[in-house]
Subunit: 190 residues, 2 copies
C-alpha cells in the first residue's frame, strides 16, 4: 500500500536494528483517514474469504481493525492482555511473551464472542516474531473457530513471523514490508 | 442517543450496584456501525467547539474516539496506561487510581502530539468517578492545551464524575445516563 509505505519512510523512526517507532501515525497519534484507507485495503484483499469477524490485540491494532470491520460489515473482537498468571477458567487464555519487550501476558478472550462457525481475520499493527498473532491463533483454535487470514500493517521480513504463520497454513497479507532497520534508516522490500 | 440507550437496556449487564458489563458491544465485541453512529453524534454535538484533536484512554475508548476523530477530520491521540512508578521525564505522566478496580497506573502521553494551541475533545466509554478523565485533563494542562469538552458513551449519574468535571468548567456530553444499577436491572435517566 503506497500511502502507508510513504508514511513509514517519512515518519517512522528506526530506533535500532529491531525496533521501529510509529507513534506519530499508528500507536500514539492516529490519523483516522489513513486507518479508513487501511481498513478498505484489507477488506478488498479478503473480500472472497467469507470473513465473519475481525480479531485484534489491544491496543495498537484496534484502530485499523475497527476500520476493517466497518469496511467488511462484521463485528470486531478485541483480545485483551491480562497480567500473566491471572487466569480465569471461564475465559480463553494463552500466555504470550513479546520478543521485543520480553514482557509476558495472558492473551484473553471470552468464548461468548467466538464460535466454531466463525472465520476470523486477525489484524495487527506489526508482524515480527509472530508471538502475538500465534497467540491469537491459539485462542481461535480453543474456540474451534477458523483463521480466515492475517492482515498486518508493517511486517519486518527479517524476523520469522511470516514463516511461522505460513507454515501453519495461514495467508499473511501485509501492507508494508520492512527489509532492514538501522538507526535512522528504514529499508523497505521492493 | 436512542440507539445506544436501547442497546444498553437490551445487552448491558448490571453486575452489582456499581459495575455494568458492556462487553458484547463496547469493550470486547465492538459493533463498528454503532461506533460510527456514536462518532457522528459527538461530531455533531461539538461541531462549533473548534476541536483540533480527540484524546482517549486505552483501550475501550479507542473505537468510539477513532470514529469521532474521523467524523471531525482531526487526529486521535491515545493516552497510554503504563505501570505505576515507571516514569519517564520526557513524557507527560500522571498517576490515576481506578475507583472500580482499585488499580493504579501512570496515564502517559508524549508532548510531541499535544501543543498549547490544541483544543482537545476527550472521549471515553464510561464516566463514573471521573478518575481517568480528570487524569486526561491533567495531562492536557501539562501540555498547556485547552479542554474543548468531554464526550462519554455511558455516564453513571449516581457517581460524582460529572460534578467534578463541571466544577472544573468543562462541558460534559453523555449519550446514555444510567440512574441506578441493581443485579440484573439497569435504570436510565429520562
Amino acid at each position: 500500500m503506497q500511502t502507508l509505505k510513504d508514511i513509514v519512510l517519512s515518519s517512522g523512526k528506526a530506533v535500532n536494528s529491531d525496533v521501529m517507532k510509529v507513534d506519530s501515525f499508528i500507536t500514539h497519534q492516529v490519523d483516522p483517514s489513513l486507518m479508513e484507507q487501511i481498513g478498505k485495503d484489507f477488506a478488498e484483499h479478503f473480500k472472497n474469504s467469507n470473513i465473519t469477524k475481525i480479531a485484534t490485540i489491544e491496543s495498537s491494532g484496534i484502530a485499523p481493525a475497527l476500520m476493517t470491520a466497518k469496511a467488511m460489515n462484521v463485528p470486531l473482537i478485541i483480545f485483551k492482555k491480562e497480567p500473566s498468571r491471572i487466569t480465569n477458567g471461564s475465559l480463553l487464555q494463552t500466555e504470550v511473551t513479546s520478543f521485543t519487550t520480553a514482557k509476558t501476558y495472558e492473551l484473553t478472550a471470552s468464548p461468548k464472542f467466538i464460535k466454531s462457525d466463525d472465520n476470523v481475520l486477525i489484524i495487527d499493527d506489526f508482524l515480527a516474531n509472530g508471538e502475538a498473532i500465534t497467540g491469537a491463533v491459539r485462542i481461535l483454535r480453543m474456540a474451534h473457530a477458523t483463521v480466515g487470514g492475517v492482515g498486518i500493517l508493517i511486517e519486518k521480513t527479517f524476523q520469522p513471523g511470516r514463516r511461522k504463520l505460513e507454515n501453519a497454513g495461514f495467508e499473511v497479507y501485509s501492507l508494508v514490508k520492512v527489509k532492514s532497520l538501522k538507526p535512522g534508516k528504514i529499508e523497505l522490500e521492493d
